[in-house]
C-alpha cells in the first residue's frame, strides 16, 4: 500500500463484502430452498433460514428424481457427469501432449499443415456446427453413449498450444543429453518430458474438469435416454412448467449437487486453477 488512508481501506472492505454477499446470495437461497418442503417454498416470501427437510430432499433426488418432472435418479446423473468430467480432461491431455511432442521434437512433412489444422479448430466451437455434428454422431451410432458424449469434445487446440509452449521452454540440453545417453524419443518423452509437464497437466486438468462437468448443449443434443442424462441436463428436465408447478425444493437440491464437485475442485485446487486459467488464454 502506498499510503495509509483508513477511510479508503474501510471503503474497500465494504465494497468487497458487498460483492461477496451479492455473489453468494443465489447460492444461499438455493441451499435454503433445498432444505424445505415444497409447501414452505411456495409461501411468499419463502423462508430465509434452513429448514429440516435436508435429508429427505437429497435422498429423494438421489434415489428417484422429482415426481412431476423427470423421474431419473440424480445419483445416476452424477456418475454420468463424473464420467464426462474425467474422460474429457484425461483424453484431451493424452492426445494433446503426444501431438505437441511430435510437432515440437520432430521434423516431418506436413508438420505445419497439421499444426494449422489443429489451430483452426479454435474457430469452430460446437455451438456453430450443432446440426451437422449431431448428424455425424448419429451416423456413427454414438447417440446415448459415453463415447458420443466425450470423444468429440477431446480434440483441443488450447491444450496442444499449452504443451507446445511449455516444450519450447524445456532446455535443448535435456534432449541432447538423452540422445547422447542413447535414449530414443519415447524414452525421452516418458522419463524427461512427462515428469516436467506435471504442473501444466494439473492446471489443464482443473480447467477441463469444470469444462466437462458443465457441458450443456452437447449432452442436451445427444442424450435422449434418461439413463445418460448428466446432472446439468437433469435439472433442465425437472423444470416442466410455469414457476409454481415445479418442485423447486428438489430442483434446488439437485442444483447444489451439480455445483458442489466443480466448486470443490476450484477452491481446493485454486493454485492450479488460476495457473490453468491464465495460461490457457494466453
Amino acid at each position: 500500500m502506498v499510503e495509509n488512508r483508513p477511510w479508503l481501506t474501510f471503503l474497500s472492505h465494504t465494497v468487497l463484502i458487498l460483492g461477496v454477499l451479492a455473489v453468494a446470495f443465489p447460492l444461499y437461497v438455493t441451499f435454503v430452498a433445498s432444505t424445505h418442503s415444497l409447501q414452505d417454498i411456495m409461501q411468499v416470501p419463502m423462508p430465509l433460514l434452513p429448514g429440516d427437510q435436508l435429508v429427505a430432499n437429497y435422498a429423494q433426488v438421489l434415489g428417484a428424481g422429482t415426481t412431476t418432472g423427470s423421474k431419473a435418479a440424480v445419483s445416476r446423473m452424477l456418475v454420468n457427469s463424473l464420467v464426462m468430467a474425467l474422460a474429457i480432461p484425461l483424453g484431451k491431455i493424452a492426445i494433446s501432449i503426444i501431438a505437441s511432442f511430435a510437432i515440437v521434437y520432430f521434423r516431418f512433412r506436413l508438420r505445419m499443415f497439421f499444426f494449422w489444422m489443429i489451430f483452426v479448430t479454435l474457430m469452430l466451437p460446437v455451438e456453430v456446427r450443432i446440426i451437422p455434428t449431431f448428424k455425424v454422431i448419429a451416423d456413427l451410432g454414438m447417440l446415448n453413449t459415453y463415447a458420443g458424449l466425450t470423444v468429440p469434445l477431446i480434440a483441443s487446440a488450447t491444450a496442444t498450444f499449452l504443451f507446445r509452449q511449455f516444450f519450447m521452454t524445456v532446455p535443448d540440453e535435456l534432449a541432447e543429453a538423452a540422445r547422447v545417453d542413447g535414449a530414443g524419443p519415447m524414452r525421452f518423452f516418458w522419463d524427461v518430458l512427462m515428469p516436467l509437464s506435471k504442473t501444466t497437466m494439473a492446471a489443464l486438468f482443473v480447467i477441463q474438469f469444470i469444462y466437462g462437468w458443465n457441458q450443456y448443449l452437447w449432452p442436451l443434443l445427444i442424450t435422449t435416454d434418461e439413463s445418460m442424462y448428466t446432472t446439468v441436463i437433469g435439472i433442465k428436465r425437472m423444470i416442466v412448467g410455469s414457476d409454481a408447478a415445479n418442485e423447486w425444493n428438489l430442483i434446488m437440491a439437485t442444483a447444489i449437487l451439480a455445483m458442489l464437485p466443480p466448486a470443490v475442485v476450484v477452491v481446493l485446487m485454486q493454485k492450479w486453477f488460476v495457473k490453468g486459467l491464465v495460461e490457457t488464454e494466453k
Binding site: 520432430f106 474457430m123 456453430v128 516444450f167 534432449a175 423447486w248 430442483i251
Partner: protein, 293 residues
C-alpha cells in the same frame, strides 16, 4: 521458434499426431464442411429431397425480420454482459488489490461461480426472480415494481444478463487482479509523492496500464456472451418472450433442432463461423500488440 535438437523417425511423429488429427477431421472439419454444404441447399418439407439453391438461404435470412432482430438482441445482450461484467470485476479487483487483510479469503469467495454451469446459473436466478414465488420478486413488489420476466421482454433480457454477468465476474476478476499486481509499485509511489490522490492515480496510471487486460477481457466476454450463454438462455427464457432474448446461437439451435430447418440453420452456422473468425483474429492481433510492450 524452433528446436535445435530434434529426433528422427519416419513414422513416429505421424503416429503421435494421428489421434488428434483423426478427431479433428471427423468432428470438426467434416461437420463444418457439411454446414457449408447444407447452407446452399433447400430441403423439401419432409426432408426427402434437397436441391442446390446457391445463396438463397442467406438472402432469405437477411430478409427475415426475426433474424435481424436476433442480431440486435445479440448485440445489446453482449454489450451489456461485457460492460457490467468488466465494470463490476474491475471495481472488485481494484479493491482487492488494495486490502492487505483477508485478500485470499475474498479471492476464494469471489472465484467459485466460475465452477457453476451456465444452465445452473440460469436456474438459480430464474428461481430468485420467479414471478409468483421468487424472493427478489417479492422484494421488488415492496418497492412497487411489478416483475414478470415471462411476459415482459426487457425484464427477461435483464434476467439473462444478470445470470450471465454473475457467472463471468470471477473470471474477469482473476485477470484484473493479475493485471493489477503486475503494475510496478514505483509508478504508483511516484504519482503519490507528486500529490496525485487515489482516484487520479487510478485513471491516469492504473487504468491505462490495464488496457491490454481490459481489451483482452472485452473479446473474451463477447465470445462468452455469443456462445457460452446458450445454457443460461435455454434454462430460463428459451429465447422468449416473443424472441426478446433469442441470441444468434439460440436461433441456430431453435431453427435447426426444433423447427428442423436444415438449410436456414446451416446458413446461420456459417455466418456465426465468420463472426468467431473475426473475434479470434481480433484476439490474436491484441496478443501481437502485447508482445511489443
Amino acid at each position: 521458434m524452433e528446436k535445435r535438437v530434434v529426433f528422427r523417425s519416419a513414422w513416429l511423429p505421424y503416429a503421435l499426431v494421428a489421434p488428434q488429427i483423426a478427431i479433428t477431421l471427423v468432428f470438426f472439419f467434416w461437420p463444418a464442411a457439411q454446414a457449408v454444404w447444407y447452407s446452399f441447399q433447400l430441403q423439401d418439407a419432409f426432408g426427402l429431397r434437397s436441391q442446390f439453391v446457391g445463396l438463397q438461404n442467406f438472402a432469405a435470412l437477411f430478409k427475415d425480420g426475426n433474424y435481424l432482430a436476433s442480431f440486435k438482441v445479440t448485440a445489446v445482450f453482449s454489450v451489456l454482459v461485457a460492460f457490467f461484467g468488466i465494470g463490476i470485476s474491475l471495481l472488485l479487483a481494484t479493491m482487492a488489490d488494495r486490502v492487505l487483510r483477508g485478500a485470499l479469503a475474498y479471492k476464494t469467495l469471489l472465484i467459485w461461480p466460475y465452477a457453476v454451469a451456465p444452465a445452473i446459473a440460469g436456474v438459480l436466478w430464474a428461481f430468485l426472480f420467479a414471478p409468483s414465488i421468487g424472493i427478489v420478486t417479492y422484494v421488488l413488489k415492496g418497492f412497487g415494481v411489478d416483475w414478470n420476466w415471462i411476459i415482459n421482454d426487457n425484464q427477461a433480457l435483464l434476467l439473462v444478463v444478470i445470470a450471465s454477468v454473475w457467472k463471468q465476474i470471477s473470471y474477469n476478476f482473476l485477470f484484473f487482479l493479475a493485471g493489477l499486481q503486475s503494475i510496478p509499485r514505483s509508478l504508483i509511489e511516484a504519482a503519490a509523492i507528486d500529490g496525485a490522490g487515489p482516484a487520479r492515480r487510478f485513471w491516469t496510471i492504473v487504468f491505462p496500464l490495464l488496457s491490454p487486460t481490459t481489451f483482452f477481457l472485452l473479446v473474451v466476454n463477447m465470445v462468452y456472451a455469443f456462445f457460452d450463454t446458450f445454457g443460461v438462455i435455454d434454462a430460463t427464457t428459451q429465447g422468449g418472450p416473443a424472441q426478446a432474448t433469442q441470441i444468434l446461437v439460440y436461433k441456430v439451435y431453435h431453427d435447426g433442432v426444433k423447427a428442423a430447418d436444415l438449410g436456414g440453420s446451416s446458413a446461420q452456422s456459417v455466418i456465426l463461423m465468420f463472426i468467431v473468425i473475426a473475434l479470434t483474429v481480433a484476439q490474436f492481433r491484441f496478443v501481437e500488440r502485447k508482445v511489443q510492450y
